[in-house]
Amino acid sequence: MLIASVRRISVELCVPTQLRYSSHFHSSARTIDHLIATKLLKSSVILISLLAAGCASNVTVEQPTIPAPHIDKLPMDVAVRIPAEFNNFVHEENILGKEKWTINLGAANAAFFEQLFGFMFDNVIVLGPADDATEYTFDALVEPQIEGFEFSVPNQSKTDAFAVWIRYRMQIFDSVGNSASTWTVSAYGKSQKEGLGSSKSLQRAAVLAMRDAAALILLQMDKSTKIGELADGPLDLSNLDGDGPVEEDNGFGSASIFAIGGIDEGTD
């Protein structure tokens, strides 16, 4: 009702303006009409641009800080290869008929894994995407990757919450480059919409998802991947039973390893 009234006002303001010009300046009416049309066109373009900009949201996630955990470090040397995408990860998504979201995690993932593994292992070597792993000495090499990034906004979920899902895939190699295991970590963060800033809530949901991943990795990585056994030396390929490396999906679909919301009894 209110919108309809506002529209009516704009019509009332526009029509008399054009009439006034055409009645007072007969000789140059066409030129003036042309000028008015041009101005209206420019105004419309600016207005449409502003509206379009209003339908796009940009979220920049600052580097999350993980508190020092109450866990014992694994006594081993681990190399972590940070993939190029971890230094500048941007997720773009068009919500059909709604708005475009750009979530810029920047180098948050690189900093996150460096800090996380620093808390987990006695010694950590951070390798860049171009570094040659054979030039370094370590017990195990971990290659994290982002396998999936999804989010939902209140319009979609019909709740007051923003949610973020991040799926990391961790590939683990022994000291000579044999693939030891692959582990998928599904993390979830949810933050309620507070105040007017949607971007802050989505940013918080992303940070909570990364923190969720950190908790899961800290408590379950050794159990799921047996990375600790690589401290005793590389895999003995002759003893493998032919099933290949350990591959486990420890996400929300899997209730066996980590009961959601509970402490795994076998973590020690």
Binding site: M1, I9, H70, T159, D160, D212, A214, I260, G262, I263
Partner: protein, 222 residues
């Protein structure tokens, strides 16, 4: 002057009048409680991994209400508690029952961190405020000569919360406090809308916090 008087009258009317609220607060004691000097409480929301929807502002409201007024208790900020015990109180890893709490209290560094903060009780909040029904119609119009509204709208909010109190000294549940509030708000409008708002969530917060303070501080035997 006339406009100022009208605004003042509307303000006074809306402050004095309000929607209707029915309330029920109950507690169920399992263990004897009490709070010694230096001991504190932490208020946490049950995990959203379990589908809990307790609002962040409701948790803050309960925290603040516990800190203030008669029988105020020392409250440790939730995030500080979670950070100091990382990763054991994350939404995914927090204990869901006192059996899990017993296991958690045997983890290296955990009892010491709890002791350093002086936390005696964890209050787990569960529940939310929902709009259960609404009706009526209200329309507003604005034009160059002015504007106004006409009609009548109403809605009902239900705030149902449960607080489970865990005593960390013996890793036992001390009991529960529940608060069920139902509030109906009205919005009549004859040119000017006059909101008669039932602050259901706010009342549920103060009601629950008052009962919690009494529950925790009381040394009544079971």
């Amino acid at each position: 002057m006339k406009a100022l008087t009208s605004s003042l009258l509307i303000f006074v009317a809306t402050s004095v009048l309000g929607g209707c609220i029915t309330a029920s607060v109950e507690d169920e004691r399992v263990e004897t409680t009490g709070l010694l000097a230096g001991e504190s409480v932490v208020v946490m929301a049950k995990s959203y991994h379990q589908g809990n929807e307790t609002e962040a502002d409701y948790i803050r409201c309960v925290e603040n209400a516990l800190r203030k007024g008669k029988g105020a208790v020392r409250v440790i900020p939730t995030q500080q508690f979670i950070d100091n015990l990382f990763p054991w109180f994350e939404p995914r890893t927090a204990p869901v029952d006192t059996k899990g709490l017993v296991t958690l209290m045997t983890r290296p560094g955990v009892p010491a961190a709890v002791k350093n903060m002086g936390v005696r009780y964890i209050v787990w909040l569960d529940g939310d405020t929902e709009r259960v029904t609404q009706g009526g119609s209200l329309s507003c119009a604005a034009g160059p000569g002015g504007g106004g509204c006409f009609g009548f709208a109403w809605w009902q909010d239900d705030a149902d919360y449960e607080a489970s109190i865990w005593d960390l000294t013996d890793s036992e549940s001390a009991g529960t406090v529940t608060a069920d509030y139902s509030g109906t708000s009205f919005l009549p409008a004859l040119v000017v809308p006059i909101p008669l708002i039932a602050r259901t969530q706010s009342k549920a917060c103060s009601g629950l916090a008052k009962q919690l303070k009494s529950f925790i501080v009381s040394t009544e035997a079971v």
